[in-house]
Each structure stands twice: as C-alpha cells, then as structure tokens.
C-alpha cells in the first residue's frame, strides 16, 4: 500500500484508463494546456495529444452535448466540469439527453459518459460556486451518481464509472483533493481490475450506539466525529453512502437495525435534501428498530456566505454533528459525556 492524495488517485486512474482504452478521452475547460483547474488532468495533453484531451470554450452546454454525442457513437468521454455549479448551464444535456437517450430510443445506443465535477463549500468561493446540488442528479432515473470520499475509492470508482455503459455524474469535492489515504500499489496500472461495484455503500467504521451517515466530504467528517466521540466512550458506526444513485438502502438500514438510532450529515441544504431521502428510507426499512427519531445535520438554509466565519457557521461541523448525536443518545437513556 502507498499513501497518496485524492487528487493523485484521480489523475493516475484517469491516465491509466486512457492508456487501457483508446476510446477514453477527456474534454472540458482548461484541462489541456493549463492541466486542469485542480490539476486532475496534469500531463495528459502531453501524453495523449489534443485529439484525446480537448480544451473547450466556456460553454458547458456545448461541450457536454458534444460528449453525449461522442458517447452515443462509441467513445467514452470523461467530461470535467470545473465545479458542479456550472453543470446548471448543461443541465438539459445531462437530464434530458444523457439520462434519457438509452430508454427513449429503445436501447439503440447507450451513453457511456462520465461527468467529473467537484462540489463542496468551505473554500470561500461565494454563494454561486459553493453549492452541493448533486441532489438534482440523484433524483434522475437514467443517471448514476457516485461520490467517493477516499483516494482508494476515488480510484476504484472512477475506473468503474469509465467502464460503465451508462452516464455517470462523478462527484468530487474541493475539500477532499488534498486529503490523503492508502491505495493499493498497483492502483495506477492500466491492467488493474480493482473496480468498485457501483451502487454500494460501506460501513467504514463499526460501532454500536448510533449510525452516522454521510457521503463525500461529510463521510470523512463523520469519521472524525466517530473518532472524537470514541474518546468519550460513544461508539459511532459510520456509513459512507458512496453512491447516491443507485442508493444502497440495505447497508444503512441494516446498520440502523443494529444501533437503533441514526444521524445523517450532509453538506447540502436540509429541506428536501439527500438526508430527507435517507431518513425516509430508514423509517421504511427499520421503523421497528428505531429507538429515537432520525436526526439530520445539514447546511444552514441560506445561500453560502462569503465571509469565512459565516461560511464556517453555515456548514455542518464535527461539533454540530457531535451535539446531534449526544442529544439523540441522551434521549434513549445512553450516558453521554
């Protein structure tokens, strides 16, 4: 095993896939000469040339549409959208074309497209560049939405996304690019067959008192919460959703059946958020195992403030999640520090 960043895991896996399959190409803004706003495409233009590494104008609808067409004709484009916020300009291409073509045209052609894009607040990018709108895509049948939280997952899930025949929205996170984690030694090998199974959540830390559910950056925050509360003798089981569509309900429902209580943490807004879907699924799947109401900890219901203290206050934190956990546990008579 070696320890690398989330960024490097993505970059090396993307390169490996381009080596493996000449139909894989990358397309997006500033990804060639500039090597990507977040350097995920570093070195690719030099290695693969401009036919397979396409710099585009600032025209998301156009280049996502072009990628949909390329995918329909047999290529495997990997689009980079600089942030998920810019996907709003291309949303018609994603929802009405990429997600619909296979079903609407009787399966004549699939759309093996990957849209890589980072979400995430906390970078002082202001209200329009800090949104977590993966919910929009998670809502749409015909799309798959993946959200890895570690370098190892980033690698095995990107490989799965590129090799999958359906359109995938591959959610990265600005706050995770520099995070480090262990990956298998051969993670960057083109022949590597370490491919994640799409649509699987994971229990990333076992515990017995309460289930804490998150994805993407919040899955890593959830782990920090669990580590902190372990010092206070509170045993938190962490579930990383990893896939928002399809949603692996079984994994978190089973966990809640074991612990009897759940808190969901999410970077998006509470109202109508991903957490609402999780909470509804928990009561459908584990009603008779719940000892307390399911709690959600989410972003404040405001456009993201720019000012650092306000931005920090708007986002869920280790503290606010810990408080929700302690309140839930004290309501079921568990001793909390």
């Amino acid at each position: 095993m070696s320890v690398i960043t989330y960024r490097q895991a993505l970059r090396d896996t993307l390169r490996a896939e381009m080596v493996r399959d000449e139909n894989v190409l990358v397309i997006g803004e500033e990804i060639g000469v500039f090597e990507g706003s977040y350097k995920i495409t570093e070195g690719l233009l030099k290695e693969f040339g401009p036919r397979r590494v396409k710099d585009t104008p600032i025209a998301e609808e156009g280049f996502v549409g072009a990628a949909v067409g390329a995918a329909m004709l047999g290529l495997r484009p990997v689009v980079e959208l600089m942030t998920i916020n810019f996907s709003l300009i291309a949303i018609d291409q994603i929802i009405n074309h990429a997600a619909k073509i296979y079903g609407m045209f009787g399966g004549q052609t699939s759309v093996p497209l990957v849209i890589r894009t980072p979400g995430g607040g906390g970078q002082q990018l202001g209200a329009t560049h800090s949104q977590n709108i993966e919910l929009f895509y998670s809502f749409i049948p015909g799309l798959k939405v993946m959200a890895p939280s570690t370098p190892a997952e980033a690698s095995s899930m990107l490989r799965a996304a590129i090799r999958d025949d359906d359109p995938v929205l591959f959610l990265e996170n600005l706050g995770l690019y520099n995070s480090k984690g262990e990956v298998p030694e051969d993670y960057a090998e083109p022949k590597n067959d370490n491919i994640a199974t799409i649509g699987r959540a994971a229990v990333t830390r076992e515990g017995s008192d309460i289930t804490l559910i998150g994805y993407s950056r919040m899955a890593t925050v959830a782990t920090q919460v669990a580590e902190k509360l372990a010092e206070e003798d509170i045993s938190v089981e962490v579930v990383d959703l990893r896939s928002l569509r399809p949603l692996d309900r079984q994994t978190f429902v089973d966990s809640v059946k074991k612990t009897g209580a759940a808190v969901i943490c999410e970077d998006d807004w509470l109202t109508y958020g991903i957490g609402a879907e999780i909470a509804a699924s928990i009561q459908e799947g584990a009603f008779d195992y719940l000892d307390a109401p399911v709690r959600r900890v989410a972003m404040a219901e405001v456009p993201m403030p720019y000012a650092k203290p306000l931005e920090t206050a708007a986002l869920p934190s280790v503290e606010s999640i810990s408080t929700a956990i302690k309140e839930t546990l004290s309501a079921v008579g568990k001793r909390v520090g």
């Binding site: 009897g260 009603f287 008779d288 195992y289 719940l290 000892d291 307390a292 309501a331 079921v332 008579g333 568990k334």
Partner: protein, 424 residues
C-alpha cells in the same frame, strides 16, 4: 358484513359517546342515512352509513363511551346475518368481566395481535414509545402500558424495556387485558360514599372538556382582573333607536350584541389585546373573532363570531341567536366553536352585579358583563339616577400587561358610553 367503527369527527377527538342510535337493529340502511348520533368532545354529530344493507348489531349502547376505531356495530346484506363474535375486538364495559376466550385469541388475525392492548386505550392514552421499545416489549412479552418511560416526554425507549425485563417489574402481557383490568365503571367507585349519600353522575363529554380546559386555564394562565362600571344611559337610548330602525326586519339587537361589537371595535384599536401566548411566543391575531359564552344543559359552550369587527350589528344579532340555538340543540360544528380571539360572558340576565370570568385559552382576555342597574351617582355635582353596567376584564398577564389591558378597557367603556362609536 362490515364493521362500523367509531369515527374521528374532530382533530382533538379521542373517544366518542353514542348519543342516539337513529337506526335500530334490523333496520334497512341506505348509504347516506344517518346511523347514529355521536357526541364528541365538541359537539353531537350525525354519522352516516357508507353502504346499503341492514343494521344487524349495535355493539355499544346509548350513553357509552368508546375510543376511535372501535367497532360500534355491523351492517350486513341480510337482516338475519349474525356477526362473528371474534370480529369485535373489545367488549363494552358491561361485558368486560367475561372470560378471555382461548380460541378467539388463536383465531385473531396478525394485525389484531399487533394492536396495542385495548385496556390501555380505554383506561388512558396509548403510551408514548419508540418503535424499537414497542417491538422489544412484544419480544420479551412485557405489557408496555406498565412500563415507565425515561425518554423525552416520558417516551418508553429500549433502555426502559431492558430494565423492566431485568427486574421483572412489568407484568407479563396476558393478552387478555379486558379481564385483568377493572372496567372504567368500576374505577368510578370512589364516588360511592354512604356518609355523604353520594353517587357518580353520568356526565357528557362537554362537561369533561369544560373541566379540563378551565383547570388548564386557571392553573397555567396568570389572570389579572380590571373592573370598570359604565354609564349605560346612552347605550340604552342607542339600542332603542337601532331597534326602531330595525323593527320592520324582525331583528332585535340586544345589549350583549352591542357589547360584543364594541369589544371588536376596541380590539381593532388595541390589537395588542387580540393576541395569544403560546409556547413562549406572543402571537398576534389579525382577525377579530369574539366568542360568546352560552349556557346550555350540557354545560358552557362558546360559539365564535368570526370577523366580528367586520359584521354589522344586525348580522351579529342574527348570527348570535342562530349559534346559541344550535348550541342549545347540541348541533354546533367544531369550526363554529374554534378560532376565537376574545370572549364575552354575560350573566346580567341573572341579576349578577359583576363577576370574574375564567379566560378561554389561548385567548388573552375575557369580558364579564354584569346586570344593568339604576344607581345613584354624582353627575355634574348633582346626585342623579343613572343605569349602569359593571364590566370586568380578565387578562392573561403573559400576553398583556396591566396598563395595556387598562387602556383597552378604558377604550371599551368610552365606546359604550358614546355608542355611536360602536358602528363607526
């Protein structure tokens, strides 16, 4: 064969009293026919059949109370059909002492077995539990109604079930609670008292609601009282004038109608009294809905005149009579008794000089009106005989402070003494 269940006829209804069986056993019933009149916590309401057939059984006799959802009777295609006994889950109080039926238990459908014990329903509220606690209680065979909850608002949680399972304090659930729990009638026994020669008086739901709400009001609302006697000469003259004008219409405006309208006029000028203190929050009402206390056989009811400020005196007069008539016939609909923002209680007709009324929550004030009496008073330095009415305002100090309440009563008194202002 279909079961007729005790319906939920109002939001707050938990149980109902069978007031009158309109259809008798054996009667032919058409969908839409009134089957039974049911007394809820708020009113007596008609309950219609949903299907055609014959009423073949009444499970509950007139005057008996049953919780929502309980089977009160059966409708069948043939007048001779006999309902299966096992289909009736809970026996009425008089039959409660029957032996538990072993075979009935075994035949019970799974959904019925999962229902909470009927005894809990008839002797009190269903206990607040977490779903997990409920499931564990069933697995351990514990009677959840005997377990004390330690969670928020007394919620029974897993820890309580595990503790109870350990110390064995909760009796094993016998699954035959009707036999092991005294029937409600037996619990009323303490009323039997030979020393005082006492016995329990069967009361209506309305009586119980009055008892509960007024206790809640006096125990939780800090009342203070403001008194003022008004000169009613001008009011008397004004009423005479108005009724002369209205003589051809048959409408006759009472002093109470004038006072109700004046209260609304004054509330528009002093909106801070048209408020409620609810859960640590001051709530401002933008509609002025004055309730008028009406004494009926069953007790006290307060029909509400919605948008009193916008109604004319003749509308108030007509509507009050209509509502009071419905109240006496027990026909008020729940919506005709809710939404009040202020109340008026008038005992003048009983010759009462003045009295202190109990606030009708969540309203912030109630006006108590005494009898109009001629009194010797000093007017312009001379002793004169004038008709006067004593008013007393009871105020919720959480919502309205003394000076604010006093300003309101001053305004009201001035309006009544210059009654043209009532309609301006």
């Amino acid at each position: 064969m279909s079961e007729i269940h005790m319906p939920r006829l109002s939001d707050t209804m938990e149980e109902g009293v069978i007031s009158t069986w309109v259809k008798k056993v054996g009667d032919k019933v058409a969908s839409g026919d009134v089957l039974v009149e049911i007394e809820t916590d708020k009113a007596v309401m008609e309950f219609e059949a949903y299907e055609d057939g014959f009423l073949v059984k009444q499970n509950v006799s007139e005057g008996d109370t049953v919780p929502i959802g309980e089977v009160i009777g059966f409708i069948a295609d043939s007048p001779d059909a006999v309902p299966e006994e096992t289909a009736a889950p809970a026996a009425p109080a008089s039959e409660a002492a029957e032996e538990p039926k072993e075979e009935a238990k075994e035949e019970a459908k799974p959904e019925q077995a999962a229902e909470p014990a009927p005894a809990a329903e008839s002797t009190g509220e269903r206990p607040r539990t977490s779903p997990l606690a409920r499931r564990l209680a069933k697995e351990y065979g514990l009677d959840i109604t005997k377990i004390q909850g330690s969670g928020p608002k007394g919620r029974i949680v897993r820890a309580d079930i595990e503790a109870a399972a350990k110390d064995g304090s909760a009796a094993q659930d016998s699954q035959a609670p009707a036999a092991s729990t005294p029937a409600p009638a037996a619990q009323a026994a303490p009323a039997q008292d030979d020393v005082r020669g006492s016995e329990e008086v069967k009361t209506s739901n309305v009586r119980k609601v009055i008892a509960r709400r007024l206790t809640e009001s006096k125990q939780t609302v800090p009342h203070f009282y403001l008194r003022r006697t008004i000169d009613a000469e001008a009011l008397k003259a004004f009423r005479g004038q108005i009724n002369q004008q209205l003589s051809s219409t048959g409408v006759k405006v009472s002093f109470n109608d004038l006072i109700v309208k004046a209260c609304a006029t004054a509330l528009k000028l002093h909106p801070e009294v048209n408020t409620s203190w609810i859960n640590d929050t001051l709530v401002q009402h933008h509609r002025v809905n004055v309730g008028v206390a009406v004494a009926v056989d069953a007790g006290l009811v307060v029909p509400v005149l919605h948008d009193t400020d916008k109604a004319t005196l003749s509308e108030i007069s007509t509507r009050t009579r209509e509502l009071a008539g419905k109240a006496r016939d027990n026909k008020l609909k729940p919506q005709e008794m809710s939404g009040g923002t202020f109340s008026v209680s008038n005992l003048g007709m009983f010759g009462i000089d003045s009295f202190s009324a109990v606030i009708n929550p969540p309203e912030a004030a109630i006006l108590a009106v005494g009898a109009m009496r001629p009194e010797a008073v000093v007017v312009d330095g001379e002793v004169a005989v004038r008709n006067r009415i004593a008013l007393e305002l009871s105020v919720d100090h959480r919502a309205v402070d003394g000076a604010v309440g006093a300003a309101y009563l001053k305004e009201l008194a001035e309006i009544l003494e210059e009654p043209m202002r009532i309609i301006l």
